[in-house]
Assembly symmetry: C2
């Protein structure tokens, strides 16, 4: 059973370090292109698709190595789940299934919304969404139902998050000067600020915690449900920035300016 890539996803998500789920994400961040390869017959194969409001995108999680029988979902309580009961990419066959809104078909390029696939993800198949047989709003879904309920009633977000004066200044400077957006991390910490591999939260010597996101680090003080973000730092060790050729760092310009400014 051999697959062939019939196209790729072109999105703004260009790194594996997962963008935290972001309730206020700009619509543009959830838009992407599906560019099919110029395979003979491909435009015929796309006929009648433009009339579909939603389509299934079947993809290959090409940047994931190895499967895990049980995984820790990024959202929800810190409980491992059987991988088949999750959408984790760590499956025996790393096949992705995404329901996306189809905005436009132009030649062999599709503009789609509601996508959080990485840029370059191989596309294997497209299928129409069939509302009559695929829409079951009341289907029981075990731990997913519990999670959705907890998010709706707020119990999934027990923590209050505050920023120290310094951390707030750093956050605002990164955002206004370099469009580096640390606000979504608040949402992650409102859920849970205890050490957690997928959320990249770890304990530091001395009792503080740290959350990592891309090449940035936030130092945290946690007391019960009160989380204070004490300071923002770089993920690069001192000296690395100066020793690295220009342009080779993640958020290169921001990193260099940050090192000088803070």
């Amino acid at each position: 059973m051999n697959l062939r890539e019939i196209g790729v996803v072109r999105s703004v998500h260009d790194h594996l370090a997962r963008t935290p789920r972001q309730p206020g994400a700009a619509a543009s961040e959830r838009e992407a292109l599906v560019v099919l390869h110029p395979i003979a017959g491909i435009t015929d194969a796309l006929r009648d698709l433009a009339a579909m409001e939603r389509i299934w995108l079947i993809t290959w999680f090409d940047r994931v190595r190895g499967w895990k029988p049980m995984v820790l979902p990024p959202r929800g309580p810190r409980v491992k789940r059987g991988v088949f009961a999750t959408r984790s990419p760590h499956r025996p066959n790393p096949i992705g299934l995404s329901l996306v809104r189809l905005l436009e078909v132009r030649g062999r390029t599709l503009r789609v919304a509601d996508v959080d696939l990485l840029d370059g993800t191989p596309v294997l198949d497209l299928k129409p969404y069939h509302p009559t047989v695929e829409a079951w709003p009341d289907a029981r879904a075990g731990w997913i139902d519990e999670l959705v309920r907890a998010e709706r009633d707020g119990s999934a977000f027990p923590n209050t998050v505050t920023w120290s004066e310094r951390a707030a200044a750093q956050r605002d400077w990164l955002w206004t000067e370099h469009a580096v957006d640390l606000f979504p991390l608040e949402d992650v910490l409102r859920r849970d600020a205890t050490p957690h591999p997928y959320r990249r939260i770890e304990a530091l010597p001395g009792g503080e915690l740290q959350i990592a996101w891309r090449a940035w680090r936030l130092r945290l003080r946690v007391e019960g449900t009160a989380v204070e973000i004490v300071a923002v730092g770089s993920g690069y060790a001192p000296g690395v920035i100066a020793a690295t050729p220009e342009g080779a760092l993640v958020d290169d310009a921001a990193q260099r300016a940050f090192a000088e400014r803070w």
Copy 2:
């Protein structure tokens, strides 16, 4: 990108000749087992799945060769559609996506309902059905919407179908003596009784038509929207039945008895 089979479907559908869609199909015909292979970790991977009412079954259409940019859907008007706007197996990657009801998980065997997959179909992945993000009852679906509307208002079934006395006697004899069920073909003919490759209807010399189903043939007389099933016959040429070793025919016992009786 290499796939591995993680299990197989065990169903009563053991032949490619498509069982016509059957509104009155016995529930047992739509039940199947998904038997996963004894891969290390597989029972852990199945944890939490039993709490899901519906699951996605991702399969490989292993008995389909080659893709076709445009296909003639088995239901609906005789119009070819772009393969990506259909669920046809003739896709660049012959990946199947079936939403099934999960009835029971026992060890590495799943009992599921609402399945029309062939026996032996390789299983690639299982995923939970996520009602909050996957249920869109009002999603537009182009030609599929038109088809569903036409089935609901009856316009998809313009023909009246009658059986000649002889054909009715043959049909009843095959059903009561050998459990060969020809009734579903009525439904196919109520839709459309003109020559159609997927429905296996062809014109015979002399003006009659014939519909084939497995190793059976029904001779038809069609006038406008009136379809008369004139007679039932075998798909085996005379002499072939006697010359074939016992047990090697499709519906073997029924074929041999039918040849003697009719």
